[in-house]
């Protein structure tokens, strides 16, 4: 194998006119020109590799940045926020000296190409983000969207994605405590796999990614570096190598959860011993990202000997090593006196660790290959000074027609028999049916602190065994609502997630979001994105819950057809004592069933319009965040003061869906008496917001209703927990056995 000369800095200076494959690497002409301007010469191959990955949409947020700014600008005052947007994950104070960090991230495209590994490495990536903050990961959630349930490709994608999330999370020993499963033809070819991880630490243990202190060692540890995910860099490699080089690079990454488990334990042990000055996980853009971000967030420069990086494939070129996205790696900055001890901790956990460089006095990031300098850049220009676009956006021309296509005219069930049939059809449809076929593949018990998990409204994890302090989490998003109105859709996603957390009895504190949209180069998709950002930022301000971090996934489209705009919102709440948490199940006959909130005829984007008519049109339900806040206060007080035995929010599928779930979960039926004059169809199927069902013990009825009256929240007694049927008096009745087999049977029939 003969090599053309290494493209060193000196060589680049001597050969300013050499052509470079910047377009193939995804750079625009002006971006390439800007790189040349920054460097005052042409970039070396290695520099071009670094800039091209770090300036990509995925790493630089170049299309989304201008809109995401609102999350900071409009952020509500929050005493709970210890670390805000911008770090690897935000950190929230949950009291008693504990801090919690949480973040959601997408792995959509890789999960379509190779469902198992794509989803597995998605979990791996978000968990490393949390570990890099110094926190011990304590739980995961997964928000999933697939094409039509009956589509043959969904049978390829869904089982693989679920097995991958379970395979990785279970092996790491992280309980899965919640998530979402949604089917819609718009996600055919573009499934959404969003994974959330939450971690816990003491305030004093918060660590930020920076490389301060000249002479400090840069240590790469974890898996060896292979040719994963470097399709782009191979273009460069083929320029500097003969064509007989084995240039086949893997198109997918394979995860090794066992390696990651060791990485977690060894990282946390190093933190606990005070061995770490700065740390960064290696995710997208691998070493390019880790070195340039660590260096630019610190005070000095950095020098790296790239040929010391342990390789899985010895044929990798320096460009490829810089771009490799091999999983299960981290990069730490360690004082020289502590380096030996750091390496010993790695050895204890059988983790490969190598000193690859050190922090320098200067302000340059210099990378060497067998003694020759191949990178010499200002790391800030790589990590933070990427291009920023003000992409044009425009409300799509079809939006008015879509909104005008109201569900008002759709035929509705009227008689008891018709309502019964519609009810069964709705609750057994793939989007409403039980997800236990999925969630039974996830360990929800490991670590022994899971207080609530799916199918509850939110997952609840105990943080402190003695005091009972705990956190609650839920993720929600409704692409159908957002398609009808992306601004309101984002607000609705927050409202629902907030409501789910409050239903467990937790006080909502902070937000993470994953924004899944189509191509930013399409003004319509860009408008949806801009509207959703505006809506979420406004709603967060109104509810007093700041966005602490998140993720943007663009280009989710097949040809011209984009997915529904799908903002997924995760809310974190706190419970001072998890023994007070509220479950959703009706567990005691005799409990009184109350409906909180007001019901209007709101069917735009509803589950009923989808299931019964395959219809999407009109306007989504109205959002009233003041009402959401009041409802949450009542749910939290009800839990704290022992006034409610069960609570379950109302969302997709309305009152009917909620009652079915609470009955099945608790193993008891209910006799429901619809209020005089109420239209049964509207009451059962409408998706009006700001509502919940609670089960109140008789002894607490007066206290509870007085509280609602005093605070001005409508509360209607609609029935009592009793028997083995869900009975709507004078209308129809559903035996629990029949309901259970309808609701439990759907997913196994499709995927079992």
């Amino acid at each position: 194998m003969t090599r053309t000369p290494l493209d060193t800095v000196a060589h680049a200076e001597r050969t300013p006119e050499d052509g470079q494959p910047w377009a193939e690497l995804g750079l625009k002409e002006d971006e390439y020109a800007r790189i040349r301007e920054i460097l005052g010469r042409r970039p070396t191959g290695a520099e071009l590799a670094m800039y091209s990955v770090m300036w990509s949409e995925h790493c630089s947020y170049k299309s989304s940045k201008v809109h995401l700014r609102q999350f900071g600008e409009k952020a509500p005052e929050s005493e709970a926020l210890l670390v805000g947007i911008g770090e690897q994950a935000g950190v929230v104070d949950v009291g008693q000296g504990y801090a919690v960090t949480f973040k959601i991230e997408s792995h959509n495209h890789p999960s379509y190409v190779e469902p198992y590994q794509g989803a597995a490495t998605g979990v791996g990536g978000i968990v490393r983000d949390i570990v890099a903050m110094g926190a011990r990961p304590v739980a995961v959630l997964d928000a999933l969207r697939f094409g039509a349930a009956e589509h043959p490709d969904t049978r390829r994608v869904l089982p693989g994605v679920v097995a991958g999330i379970g395979g990785y999370g279970n092996c790491l020993g992280l309980p899965n405590i919640g998530g979402e499963t949604v089917f819609d033809p718009c996600y055919q070819g573009n499934p959404l796999v969003n994974a959330l991880c939450v971690g816990v630490m003491r305030h004093e243990d918060i660590h930020l990614a920076k490389a301060a202190g000249a002479g400090n060692k840069v240590i790469l540890y974890g898996a060896r570096t292979g040719g994963d995910g470097i399709g782009g860099a191979s273009i460069l490699a083929s320029e500097s190598f003969d064509s007989d080089k084995p240039s086949k690079r893997p198109s997918v990454q394979v995860g090794d959860p066992f390696q990651e488990k060791l990485l977690i334990e060894c990282t946390l042990e190093a933190f606990a011993e005070g061995l770490v000055s700065g740390i960064q996980d290696l995710g997208a853009a691998g070493l390019s990202c880790a070195t340039s971000e660590l260096a630019s967030n610190g005070s000095g420069g950095m020098r790296v000997e790239l040929d010391t990086v342990p390789l899985r494939d010895s044929s990798l070129s320096p460009e490829e090593i810089l771009m490799s996205e091999s999983q299960e790696r981290m990069c730490a900055v360690v004082e020289p006196a502590k380096a030996e001890r750091f390496l010993a901790v790695c050895e204890k956990w059988d983790v490969t660790a190598t000193v690859i460089g050190e922090v320098t006095d200067g302000d340059r990031l210099e990378i060497y290959w067998h003694g020759e300098r191949i990178v010499d850049v200002d790391p800030r220009t790589v990590a933070h000074e990427g291009p920023v676009y003000e992409r044009p956006y425009a409300r799509p021309t079809w939006q008015d027609a879509l909104r005008a296509d109201s569900p008002e005219t759709l035929p509705r069930p009227r008689t008891g028999d018709e309502l019964r049939a519609a009810a069964l059809e709705l609750v057994s449809a793939p989007n409403q049916a039980s997800t236990s076929w999925i969630t039974d593949q996830y360990d929800r018990y490991v670590l022994g602190n899971t207080v609530l998990a799916q199918p509850e409204d939110g997952g609840v994890i105990r943080v402190d065994e003695r005091s009972g302090l705990g956190v609650a989490l839920a993720t929600d998003g409704n692409g159908r609502y957002a398609k009808l109105d992306p601004y309101e859709g984002a607000r609705l996603a927050l409202a629902e997630s907030y409501r789910n957390v409050a239903a467990t009895g937790a006080r909502p504190l902070a937000v993470t979001d994953c924004l899944n949209f189509g191509s930013p180069e399409d003004p319509a998709a860009m408008w949806q994105f801009a509207e959703a950002c505006r809506g979420l930022a406004d709603a967060c301000r109104e509810l007093g819950t700041p966005v602490t971090g998140g993720n943007v996934s663009l280009y989710n489209q097949t040809g011209e057809t984009a997915i529904h705009p799908t903002p997924v919102v995760g809310v974190l709440g706190v419970l001072d004592d998890v023994s007070r948490r509220t479950p959703i199940g009706f567990t005691e006959p005799g409990q009184l069933v109350y409906l909180l909130g007001e019901t209007r005829a709101e069917f735009g984007g509803s589950a009923w319009s989808q299931v019964a008519h395959g219809h999407l049109g009109g306007t989504p339900p109205a959002v009233d965040l003041e009402r959401e806040r009041l409802l949450a206060e009542i749910l939290i007080a009800g839990s704290r003061d022992g006034m409610v035995d069960a609570a379950h929010d109302l969302s997709e599928g309305g009152l009917l869906q909620t009652l079915v779930e609470s009955c099945l979960r608790g193993g008891n039926g209910a006799r429901i008496v619809l209020p005089d004059g109420a239209d049964p169809f509207t009451l059962l199927f409408s998706e009006s917001q700001g509502r919940a069902v609670v089960a109140v013990p008789r002894s607490e009825e007066v206290r509870f209703t007085e509280m609602c009256a005093a605070r001005g929240l409508p509360a209607a007694r609609i029935g009592v927990v009793d028997g083995q049927e869900l009975d709507f008096q004078g209308q129809f009745s559903l035996p629990l056995d029949e309901l259970r087999s309808a609701v439990e049977g759907t997913l196994p029939a499709l995927f079992g």
Binding site: V113, D153, P250, Q327, D350
Partner: protein
Amino acid sequence: MTRVVVEVMPKPEILDPQGQAVQRALPRLGYQGVLDVRQGKRFELEVDGPPNRETLSRVEEMAETFLANGVIENFTVRVLDAAGAEVLSTDPVAGAAAGAGNSGTEGAR
């Protein structure tokens, strides 16, 4: 009836955590000098029909669409005679190519 063996191995460039775990364990068990381990799958099939080209290509198709995941694995198919000797097998290059062929594009079946 014909006996057919399908061997499925992780592609060389793909991480093989299982093989690595085995390799790392061996020295601790007192076995030195094992420089590399890769772990794959082996299927033994009993198939209707004679040990001929047609049977081979039927099983190759099964391997390509189902037994192996072309995104991360290569496969070889071997048709055996009654005595267990190999009479026909996948052209290794074609096998690899077939494996690679469905990468990224494979959609519905």
